[in-house]
C-alpha cells in the first residue's frame, strides 16, 4: 500500500492476473473497470489490455476525498470489470466493496486472480465485500450467515 494513500478509502484494490478462454490465455483482450465513488455521485472508469500471456494489471483506485460539503455515507462501493474479446462482452467481476482498506477483497494479500471467461459465475463474500465473479483467487471466504431463531420479547 502506498503511504500517501493509507488514509484514503480504497474503492478497488490493485488487481492483476491472467484471463483465459477455455483454458487458453487470451491476448489483447480489453478490460474495463467501473467503480462507484464512495462519497459522491458518479463513477470512476479505467481500462487495460492483456498481454500475449493473457496477463493484465490495474492499479488501486482510491477515493479522492473532497472536503467540506462532501456527503457522508456508509462505505459501500459498487465494482465491475468487463472483458471484451472477439466481439463478446464477459462480466467477470460484479460486486460491492464494504471495507475501506486496500486488498480487503483478499484479506490483505495482493489481489492476484485467474479468470476464465466461460467459467461459472460464482458468489464470494470476503470481509463483507460481496463479489459475483468468474475469477478465482486464494482467499478464505466469509462463513455463512447464522440466523438465530426468533426470541420471545420478554426478558
Amino acid at each position: 500500500m502506498s503511504s500517501e494513500n493509507r488514509t484514503k478509502p480504497c474503492l478497488f484494490s490493485a488487481i492483476s492476473g491472467v484471463i483465459t478462454l477455455n483454458g487458453k490465455p487470451v491476448k489483447n483482450a480489453q478490460l474495463k473497470r467501473i467503480v462507484g465513488k464512495a462519497h459522491a455521485q458518479g463513477k470512476v472508469t479505467d481500462e487495460t489490455t492483456t498481454d500475449e500471456n493473457g496477463y493484465f494489471s490495474m492499479p488501486a483506485v482510491f477515493d479522492k476525498v473532497l472536503l467540506a460539503k462532501v456527503l457522508p455515507m456508509e462505505f459501500s462501493v459498487p465494482q465491475e470489470i468487463f472483458v471484451y474479446y472477439e466481439g463478446k462482452e464477459y462480466d467477470i467481476w460484479s460486486g460491492v466493496k464494504r471495507k475501506r482498506e486496500e486488498n480487503s477483497e483478499s484479506r490483505g494479500k495482493p489481489l492476484v486472480v485467474k479468470c476464465e471467461l466461460e467459467g461459472e459465475r460464482k458468489r464470494i463474500s470476503v470481509n463483507d465485500n460481496l463479489i459475483y465473479t468468474r475469477c478465482n483467487w486464494d482467499v478464505e471466504p466469509d462463513p455463512p450467515m447464522v440466523f438465530d431463531p426468533p426470541e420471545d420479547d420478554e426478558d
Binding site: 462519497h39 457522508p72 459498487p78 460491492v96 475501506r100 458468489r123 463483507d128 450467515m145 426468533p150 420471545d152
Partner: protein, 395 residues
C-alpha cells in the same frame, strides 16, 4: 410479539448496503436467495423489481430498502430493512432544518420525512398486505439515516395496521421532536424499540435539541448505549460493521443498561450545578441535552403549556424555548435558579466569561444564548463530519 436477535438485526442493517449496491439486479436476487432463502420468502424477479408492490426491493431517490416476508422459523414475520443515501450530512448539519408532519401527525425532521415519503408508495402495498399474508410480527431495521427511515416506517406500520412493530436502529440520528418521540414510545412501546448506539458515534447526537430520540419514555431503562473509547466523536464508531462486532452474539438483555452512571434527575442536577470549566465534548453535549429537557419539562409543567412543532415565520422554536424559560424565571424562584444554572452552563460551554444574574435573563438574551449554542453545535458536528471524511472514514 417475538423479536429478532441483536446479531440478526445488525447483520440485516449491515447487509442491506451491499444488497442494494450490487450493480446487477440478477446478482441481488441471487444474493437474496443464497443468504436469506432459508428465512425469507423470495418471490420472482418481477416483485423484486418493485413492479407489483408487495415484498421486494424499495428504491427511491433518497432511500433504498427491502420488504420481505419470513419463512421457516420466521413464518409469519415481516421485515422492512432500510438504508439512506449519500445526502445525510447536509440534513444533519443544516441550521435551518425544517420540521414537517409525519404520517401520524407528529413533528419530524423534514429531510427524513421527505425521504420516507418518497419510499412510502412502495412500502405501502407491503404494509397493507401484512395481515393478508398472515404476518404477526413486523421488524423495522436500519443503520444511520436508514435507522431514521426505519423509525418512520415503524410509526407508519403502527398507524395503519393492527400490528405493533419492533424497531431496531444502529447509530440512527434523531428523527423528531419530543411529541413524536413520546407518541412513538407509547404507541409502539419503549420495550420494542432497540436503539443501539456507540458513545462516540456523532450521528446519534444530531440533529441536536429539540430533536429527541425514542424511546423517550422509559428511555433510561431501555437504553442500548454501547461504550466506545474517548469523549470526542470517532469516525469509525459509526460504521455498521463495528456495530455488528459490538453486538456479537450477545442477547438484548446483555446489551441493555451499559451506562456506568445514573441518568436520573439527581445526576442531571448534579451536572448542572457542578462548578468548573465545561468542555465541548460528546459527553457534555449529552448531559446538556438531558439538562435542557429536564429544565424545560419543569418550566412547562409549571406554565401548563406544551412545546409545539407549529412555527410561524416570526415565532420560531427558539422563540418558544426562550419564552418558556423566561416564564420559568419570572414565575418561580425555584425554576429561576434552574434556568439560570442552565444558561450559565451553556455560557461556560461556549467559553463566555460574562457573569449574569436573573435580571439579565430576558427572553431576547436567552434566545441569543441558544442561538449561539445551536451554531456552535452545528459547527462542531460539521467539523466532526469533516474529520470523518479527512480520515477516509464515512458517516
Amino acid at each position: 410479539m417475538p423479536r429478532i436477535s441483536p446479531r440478526m438485526s445488525a447483520s440485516l442493517a449491515r447487509d442491506i448496503y451491499r444488497l442494494v449496491d450490487i450493480p446487477k439486479l440478477k446478482d441481488a436476487v441471487s444474493e437474496l436467495e443464497y443468504t436469506y432463502g432459508s428465512v425469507m420468502e423470495i418471490n420472482n424477479s418481477n416483485t423484486l423489481k418493485g413492479k407489483s408492490g408487495g415484498p421486494g426491493f424499495v428504491k427511491s431517490r433518497t432511500g433504498f430498502g427491502l420488504c420481505a416476508l419470513g419463512k421457516g422459523a420466521y413464518q409469519g414475520h415481516g421485515f422492512i430493512v432500510l438504508r439512506g443515501t449519500k445526502f445525510l450530512a447536509d440534513w444533519l448539519t443544516n441550521l435551518n432544518v425544517g420540521v414537517s408532519r409525519s404520517c401520524n401527525g407528529q413533528s419530524v425532521h423534514d429531510g427524513f420525512n421527505r425521504a420516507f415519503c418518497s419510499m412510502k408508495p412502495q412500502i405501502k402495498p407491503f404494509v397493507r398486505a401484512l395481515a393478508a399474508n398472515g404476518v404477526h410480527s413486523v421488524h423495522c431495521i436500519g443503520h444511520s439515516l436508514g435507522g431514521g427511515l426505519a423509525t418512520l416506517s415503524a410509526e407508519y406500520v403502527k398507524a395503519t395496521t393492527a400490528l405493533t412493530p419492533n424497531l431496531y436502529t444502529f447509530g440512527a440520528p434523531r428523527v423528531g421532536l419530543r411529541s413524536f418521540a413520546d407518541t412513538l414510545s407509547s404507541n409502539v412501546g419503549s420495550t420494542k424499540i432497540y436503539r443501539v448506539y456507540h458513545q462516540t458515534d456523532i450521528v446519534p447526537c444530531i440533529p441536536f435539541w429539540p430533536f429527541v430520540h425514542a424511546p423517550s419514555i422509559l428511555g433510561d431503562a431501555y437504553d442500548y448505549f454501547q461504550p466506545s473509547p474517548g469523549v470526542f466523536p470517532g469516525a469509525k464508531w459509526h460504521d455498521m460493521s463495528l456495530y455488528v462486532d459490538t453486538v456479537g452474539t450477545q442477547k438484548w438483555s446483555a446489551l441493555r443498561n451499559k451506562r456506568n452512571r445514573n441518568n436520573n434527575s439527581a445526576s442531571v442536577l448534579n451536572w448542572l450545578n457542578r462548578e468548573g470549566p465545561v468542555s465541548f465534548s460528546v459527553t457534555n453535549l449529552e448531559w446538556l441535552d438531558k439538562a435542557i429537557n429536564y429544565v424545560l419539562a419543569k418550566c412547562l409543567s409549571f406554565v401548563g403549556g406544551t412545546l409545539t412543532g407549529a412555527f410561524s415565520g416570526t415565532f420560531t422554536l427558539m422563540d418558544q424555548l426562550a419564552y418558556i424559560l423566561k416564564k420559568g424565571v419570572d414565575l418561580s424562584s425555584n425554576l429561576s435558579g434552574l434556568v439560570m444554572a442552565l444558561i450559565r452552563k451553556i455560557m461556560k460551554m461556549l467559553g463566555m466569561q460574562k457573569i449574569i444574574d436573573k435580571t439579565d435573563a430576558t427572553a431576547a438574551f436567552i434566545r441569543s444564548i441558544f442561538q449561539k449554542l445551536s451554531h456552535r453545535i452545528s459547527t462542531y458536528c460539521q467539523k466532526a463530519l469533516d474529520n470523518v471524511l479527512v480520515n477516509g472514514q464515512s458517516v
